[in-house]
Amino acid sequence: MSEALGRPVTEEDLVALADDRLDAARSAEVEAWLGENPSERDRVAGWRRQSAMLRGALDPVAAEPAPPALVAALTPPPRSRWQWPSIAAVAAGIVGGVFAGWMIWGSAVPLQAREMVAIGLSAHQVYIQEVRHPVEVTVAEADHLTSWLSNRIDTEVAPPDLTAAGLALLGGRVVPENGWPAALLMYENAAGERFTLLIVHYREAANTAFRYTTQRDFGAVWWMDGEVGYVFSGPDDRARLLDLSRSIYDQVS
C-alpha cells in the first residue's frame, strides 16, 4: 500500500501525526499516504478534533489560580508539636481529671496521656452514635484515608486490620486534640458494636504499658508507643478491649 513512499505507514505513525510529533520528512510521507486512504485520513482528522475539544474543555481548569487549600498542602504544619502543658492546662487537666475520676491513676501517668484518653473516650461517645456520618472518609477510599490521616497528623497511619476479630473498618476522621489534629478510626462488628482508635502524634517519645480506664458504659485501653499515643475505646469489656489492643499493637509497632 505504501511501498512507493518508503517505510510502511503504521498506526503509530498515524497517532504521532495526529499529535504533530513526526519530523517533517516522515510527516510528508504519511500525509501523502493518507491522500490515498481517505478513511484513514478522516480517522486522523477526527483524532485531531478530539484533542482540540479535550483541550478546549479542560484548559480552563488549568487557567484557574491554584486553590489556597492545594497550595497549603505544600507547607505542612510544623513538625514539632509537643509542648509541656501550661499551668492553666495543668489546672484544667486536674479539674477535668477529678470530674472524670481519673485521679486514681496517680502521678505516674503523664498529663498528656490523660488528655489523650479523655479525648479518645469523648470522641468515641460522640461519633459512634452517628448513624449516617460516623466517619468523614469511608474505607471505600482506603488509600485516601491512609494518606489523608497520615498527613494530617504527620505520621504514618495504616489502619490496623481487625477482621480476624470480626471488626470491620468503617473509616476515619480527624478530631481536634489540644488544637492539633489527631486521627480517629472507627470499626464495627456484626452485632453493630462500634470501636474507635484514636491516634495522636506527639513529639516527645514515651513508652507505657497498656492501661485501662472506663467512663460510663465505655472502656478504653491506651498506651504510648514512642511518639504516638493510642486510645482504643469500645464497650466496657476489659478482656476484649485488651485482646484487640494487643492485635493493634502488633500491627502498628
Binding site: 503504521t10 480517522r43 483524532w47 479535550l54 481548569v61 486553590p67 492545594l70 505544600l74
Partner: protein
Amino acid sequence: MAINRHEMERLIPSLRRFARGLTGDAQAADDLVQDALWRALRKERQFRGDNLAAWLFAILANGARAEVRSRRRQPTVGPLIDTADGGTDPASRIGILSALASLEAEHREVLLLTAVEGFTYRETAEIVGVPIGTIMSRLARARDELARRLDGAPIVPVRRVK
C-alpha cells in the same frame, strides 16, 4: 532530593486539569491533587530524576487508579460529570467530557497525558509504567473509542493499517 516547593506549586494548575479529566468531578479532582502533593512530599527523598512534572503526574495517576479500584467495590456509577461549570460552549464541553468519562481508565490517562498535558510518548510511558509501544496502541484505541462515542456510530477501519 529536596523538591523546590515553587516548582511544585507551578505544576498545580496542570495537575488539576489532569485530575479533572480523569475524574470528571471538580471536588474529586482536587482531592486527588491534594493526595498526590502530600504523597510527593512524604516521599520526596525518593525523587531521583530531573523530571518533576513526570514524577508528580505519575503519583497522581497512581492515586487515581487506586481510587478506581476501590470505587469498583462500591455500587456507584463511573466518573461524575460536573455540569455546574460550563465553559463557553457547555453542550460540547459536556459532550467531550462525558465521552472521555466513558473510556477505560487506562485509555483516559494516556490520552490526557499526551493530547492535553503534552507529555512525550516516552514521558507518558514512564508515568504510566508501560512500554512506549503500549502507549501508542492505547492512544489509538482510546481515540477510536472516543470517536465512536462522539459520533454515536462504531468506527470500523476500512483497511487494517500495518
